[in-house]
Amino acid sequence: MLASFDTHLFWTALTSSPYWRGALLALALTAAALSTAVVGGFFLALGRESSSRAVRTLVFLYNWIFRATPTLLQLLFIWNALPQLWPVFAGTWFTPFVAAYIALSLNEAAYMCEIIRAGLLSVDPGQELAGRALGMKRRRILRRVIVPQAIRIIIPPTGNEFITLLKLTSLASVISLQELLTASQNLAAVKFQYVESYLAALVYYLVIVSILMAVQSRLERRFTWTSRRRSPVLAPAVPAISQSDAR
C-alpha cells in the first residue's frame, strides 16, 4: 500500500452524498439520453432509407453536424446560446441536467442512427419478402420480424455507446452539473489528496459499467433464438471498449 494513501478519506469519499448523488446523476443522464437517442436514431435511420430525397438529405445534414463538431461545443451551445436565441430556454426549468440531457440526446441520436441503420440492413431481405408473401403490412413486418432481429445486432454497439455516454457526462461538469467528476474535483480541491478523491470516482464508473455488462449479456441472450438458451455466439457478451472516444 502506498505510504500516503488515506483509506479513511477514500472510504468517506466513496460513501459521501456528493459522490453517490453524482454517480446517480451520471447514470440517470446516460440512461435518459441513450433511451431518447435510440428512439430518435430509429426514426433517423428510417429517414436515411426514405424514398424522399429531401428526408434523406435532412438526416444526412443532422448526422453531419452532430458528428463533425465537438460534443463539448454542442453542450456549451445548448446551455449558453440557446437561451439567447429563444427566451423559453431562459426559464428556471432549463437546468444543467436538462441542458446536458438535450445535448447528449441530440448528439447520441446521430451515432445511434448509423448503428440502428446497420442493424436493420443486416436482416436478410428474404425475411421481409416472406412477410409480404403472407400478406402482412410493411409496418407489421418491421415490428414483428425485422426490428427484433435487428435488436440482436444493435445491442453490443449500443452497450459501447452507453459507456461512451457515461464518460461524456463528465463534460457536463463545465456547465456546473454536480456529477461524479465535480464531486471528486471539489473534494480534491479541499483536501489536496487527489489519489483518494479520484479513485473513489473511478470505482463508481467501474461499478456502473459492470452492471451494464451484466444487463447487456442478459439482453443478448433474450434476443438469441434457440429453445435451449445457449450463450450467444454472434458477438462477445463483454462490450469491447469503444474506439470512438475522441468525442
Binding site: A133, L134, R144
Partner: protein, 233 residues
C-alpha cells in the same frame, strides 16, 4: 374459369427486360412445373403471380380477380422462416396478423398444419435448430395455413442436401393429390414426370414451350428445350 392466370406480363429492372410478355393459366387442381436456365425470369414470374412484385404491364388474376393478401401461398428456395420465431409462431403469425384470428384459434390451426407436414414434435424449435428439409416443411405449413387458393414454389428443394429432398417432395405430392392448384419452379424432373399436369420451358423472359410431361420429356419441339433437357438430365 382458370384458377390462376397471367396475361401478357412484362417486368423490367432498369435496362433489363426480365419478363417479355408471359401468358399462361392454371386450372383448378392443376400442377404446372416451370423449368429453364438461371436468369430466365422464373423467380420474377412467381413474384409477379403472388403480387410481391407489380408487373409493369399485363395482368395477374386469381379466379378472375386480383389476389388478396395471403390468397396465393409462396414457398422460397431459402425457406425464409422468421428467425425470431418458433416453428409454431411462424405458422401462426399470418393468421394473427393478416386473418385477425384470436391467438388460441390460430395456435390450434397452426398445430394442425404442422402435424400435416409431419412436424408435430418440432413446434417449439427455432429455425436454426431445424434441418433444411424441416424448415422447408414449416414454410409450406406457414403458407398452407392461410388457406391459399394456389401455391407457388420457387425451387423448394434446390437448397437442400440430397437426402432431405424427398421429405419435401412428399409433402408437395400429397398436396397435389388433394387437389391444390400449384405452380412449381423445379428441376426435379422425376417430380415433374409424376405430378405435373404440364411442364413449361422458360427462356429469356418468355415461355417457349408447354406440354404434358410425357410429351415434354420424350419429344420436345423446341431446340432450346432439347438443349436444356440434355444439360439437366
Amino acid at each position: 374459369m382458370s384458377m390462376l392466370r397471367a396475361d401478357g406480363v412484362h417486368k423490367r429492372y432498369d435496362d433489363l427486360e426480365v419478363l417479355r410478355g408471359v401468358t399462361f393459366e392454371v386450372e383448378p387442381g392443376q400442377v404446372k412445373v416451370i423449368i429453364g436456365p438461371s436468369g430466365s425470369g422464373k423467380s420474377t414470374l412467381l413474384r409477379c403471380l403472388s403480387l410481391l412484385e407489380e408487373p409493369d404491364a399485363g395482368e395477374v388474376s386469381l379466379e378472375g380477380k386480383r389476389p388478396g393478401p395471403g390468397d396465393v401461398g409462396m414457398v422460397f428456395q431459402k425457406f425464409n422462416l422468421f428467425q425470431n420465431m418458433t416453428a409454431l409462431q411462424n405458422v401462426m403469425i399470418g393468421l394473427v396478423e393478416v386473418r385477425d384470428l384470436p391467438k388460441n384459434e390460430a395456435r390450434a390451426q397452426a398445430l394442425e398444419f404442422l402435424e400435416r407436414v409431419g412436424l408435430a414434435d418440432k413446434t417449439a424449435q427455432y429455425p436454426d435448430e431445424l434441418s433444411g428439409g424441416q424448415q422447408q416443411r414449416v414454410a409450406i405449413a406457414r403458407a398452407l395455413v392461410m388457406r391459399p387458393k394456389a401455391m407457388l414454389f420457387d425451387e423448394p428443394t434446390s437448397a437442400l442436401d440430397v437426402e432431405l429432398v424427398r421429405e419435401v417432395l412428399d409433402v408437395m405430392e400429397s398436396l397435389a393429390r388433394e387437389g391444390m392448384t400449384m405452380v412449381v419452379v423445379s428441376h426435379e424432373l422425376r417430380f415433374a414426370h409424376h405430378v405435373a399436369s404440364s411442364v413449361l420451358m422458360m427462356d429469356e423472359g418468355r415461355i417457349v414451350e408447354e406440354a404434358p410431361p410425357e410429351e415434354f420429356f420424350t419429344s420436345p419441339k423446341q431446340e432450346r428445350t432439347k438443349r436444356f433437357l440434355s444439360l439437366v438430365e
